[in-house]
Symmetry: C2
Subunit: 449 residues, 2 copies
């Protein structure tokens, strides 16, 4: 116990950052194969209002376990966010656990009742018996309106800690947090440190190369933290510092963050495809929209993933004309007009066919640019000459007609050898194709249609 | 504190299940957008040797925070698994935290040194200065060989709790656990309960309807736990019980699990589309392969997601012929032969166009069945008559020609009104389309081509 108290002191030592803790509730987050994704955006959002999440935990739908997690968190946090367990089923017992631990009995609150009735009325329904349980809130707690679901959240102050309970459904947690919790935390954050963070996304360099290129960018003893994170979509570089927490004796501070980010950008050059929360498909979409270039895609091994990614972006119908997923050779002949002889001569997975696919989809659609992918996603279908992971990307646009054209039909192609399982190879191939399109848009695109 | 002790007693009450706890270590798991995926397989693996994980937590690379998490876990767990923070960089401080908390100073252990040298030698390298730190192990701890990485794990017994430290890289954590930890836990698990689990996936019923249909299936006081999990892909029902933990006074036990699963199946009927780890795309794929029916898909608002999902399954090239993503009206005319007048008359989002899309993709591809989706994924593009979330699915197959055909061209169509954001509507629409195909394959498909 003495150790525990000592630790708390160490934790609060001179920091203007409020300690935060997230508790995700749901047995499906233990045995059930589901991960707590809410904590990702919550950690980011809390940092932006001066709350540093140092512990996250997951417990099942067991009242005693939830209570234990709340007690542990209350000993060290100023802000505690619970997610999940607010639904209408008997499993859901977050409200009971909070009531038990804090000694605030559950009451049916008119405000919660109203919020729920209103939401259900929008969907043309009335509350069922089980749903009525959702209006039970610990006495003295404040109801947090859930603008996209029937279960309202709530918050209360206990032992100097703000306890926030949010619904577990991600969209409901996000909207409830943004609408009711962030403003509350933000108004109390004067003089608090806030997290400053710059994130740069790269594709095409192995993690060890990124690390080597960034050697010495952040000096030892600096308050700025440099992090690298590798995935099939590339390597993400992050620079993080808590503004307001700086020790003046240290050599680099938050004011250096923008400068450091510029240095990182210069050292990584054209491999940086996006910053912050931007995704590759958003960046490509913005370039296409700004240049008024329409796109048509011919996919083989990626199976529709490129189309799926592009259409995750609202407004993509403004520049995406069509996607042809040609999983059979016959579909390549029918939809793209590729000569059967070409496939017979070079194989469906070849630079020649990738070039013809990009040309075929563009000329048939009359889109500004044609993009194609053909490859072997595995786990079967590989040979010694053409192993699993071999992928060709093709790009066809009028600007290639003269200078840059590599194939007869004016397409540019590139060969890749990816590793990983089927899912990883599909992801890497889709990213490589979108990156090739981005490079073209950045350098040549303005000369396109 | 009294409450905490009472809780521990409740926790251990007459159970042959050992309490387990997982602590994932790494600052990238807090701010960095990465999730602790190791806990998924660890929770499953531990359950199979009689250890029930009731708490998971995540802490950054901060020695004091790791120490705090270890102390909390030791108060309630018999088995504690730490992952991460064993690498060669200065950030990595799991070994220091364990040494500090348990009072066992770090020593360079010859066995750890040997394990590391051997692994590096296989890669043609010798240990660097920082890597030598990886041979530091708390005194008295047992070294756990890491067959795929340079950082060995270790385990020790402390206050009646087995403390296991594994590397954070998923492949290294899995291999170290399987090779050194599972056998140890398994040999001590005679008489221990083991987890039994049945999972059923449904689509098309709201969670509250699933719950109502299952009322009374699991009696109060039973050791079997019934869990429901809603997502855009439907509602998943799980039945879980710890074999060996049964109290004979209780009325239902593990032996009932298979019978209960059958009851659930009967009550949910045709809404059950898969069991266990199967996905909708795998189930549909197996039906198509078994019936030798080929498939062609015409997508609009789902943007390629149906193709992407179908092609996540290895071997899908055996039954998937093509997917046409027609994001523009012109693409619908070109690729599917839909009369422009039809689109003008009914709008691109209509039952008539969905029917024509399914017919068009099937007749042009000569596939056995044609599947189509058209809808409004939002957030813009909705009107009072055709709101965001309105989706039509079409299915065209020869078997519809006579009895079931709803539209002139022999297509069956269905209208849906989904809610949620763009991503959720795309997911729900793709699932609704695959489910309509599955229903056809189950009931009529054998009469198809």
């Amino acid at each position: 116990m003495i150790a525990s108290v000592a630790w708390v002191e160490e934790y609060d030592r001179g920091s203007p950052v409020r300690a935060g803790e997230i508790i995700a509730i749901g047995s499906e987050l233990l045995l059930g194969g589901r991960l707590d994704t809410n904590s990702l955006f919550l950690t980011e959002q809390l940092a932006s209002v001066g709350v540093e999440v140092r512990f996250k935990s997951v417990v099942g739908d067991v009242e005693a376990d939830i209570a234990a997690a709340i007690r542990t968190a209350a000993r060290r946090a100023k802000v505690m966010v619970l997610t999940g367990g607010l639904g209408p089923t008997r499993d859901d017992c977050t409200r009971q656990a909070v009531a038990r631990v804090t000694g605030r009995p559950l009451r049916r609150q008119p405000e919660a009742m109203e919020s729920m009735r209103q939401r259900l009325a929008e969907w043309g329904r009335t509350p069922t018996g089980p749903q009525l349980r959702q209006a039970l809130i610990p006495s003295g707690a404040e109801v947090l309106d859930n603008p996209v679901g029937s279960a309202p959240g709530f918050c209360l102050s206990w032992k100097g800690c703000l306890v926030v309970a949010l619904p577990g459904v991600p969209a409901e947690a996000e909207r409830t947090f943004a609408g009711s919790v962030a403003p509350k935390l933000s108004s109390g954050s004067a003089g608090q440190a806030r997290l400053q963070r710059r994130v740069l996304h790269t594709f095409g360099l192995p993690e060890s190369d990124v690390e080597r290129r960034l050697t010495g960018v952040v000096r030892a003893g600096s308050d700025v933290r440099l992090g690298l994170l590798a995935s099939p979509l590339g390597v993400t570089v992050s620079l993080t510092a808590w503004e307001g927490r700086l020790n003046t004796a240290r050599t680099q501070g938050v004011s250096d963050l923008a400068r450091l980010a510029r240095t990182v950008r210069v050292r990584l050059g054209r491999f940086v495809y996006a910053e912050g929360t931007d995704t590759m498909e958003e960046v490509v979409g913005r370039h296409l929209a700004a240049r008024r270039v329409t796109l048509a895609v011919a996919e083989s091994c990626t199976g529709g993933l490129i189309g799926h990614r592009l259409t995750q972006v609202a407004g993509s119908s403004g520049y995406l004309d069509r996607v042809a997923v040609c999983y059979s050779d016959r579909a390549k002949v029918d939809l793209l007009g590729i000569p059967e002889a070409l496939i017979r001569r070079h194989g469906a997975v070849s630079a020649e066919v990738a070039a013809a696919m990009a040309h075929g989809i563009r000329s048939r659609s009359q889109a500004g640019v044609g993009l194609s992918v053909t490859g072997i996603a595995g786990p079967t279908g590989g040979t010694a000459q053409k192993p699993v992971g071999l992928v060709y990307v093709g790009l066809n646009a009028p600007a290639f007609r003269n200078a840059e054209a590599k194939a007869d039909d004016g397409s540019l192609t590139r060969e890749f050898r990816f590793h990983g399982d089927r899912q990883a190879i599909k992801l890497r191939a889709s990213q490589a194709a979108l990156e090739m399109l981005r490079q073209w848009l950045v350098t040549t695109g303005s000369r396109g249609r």
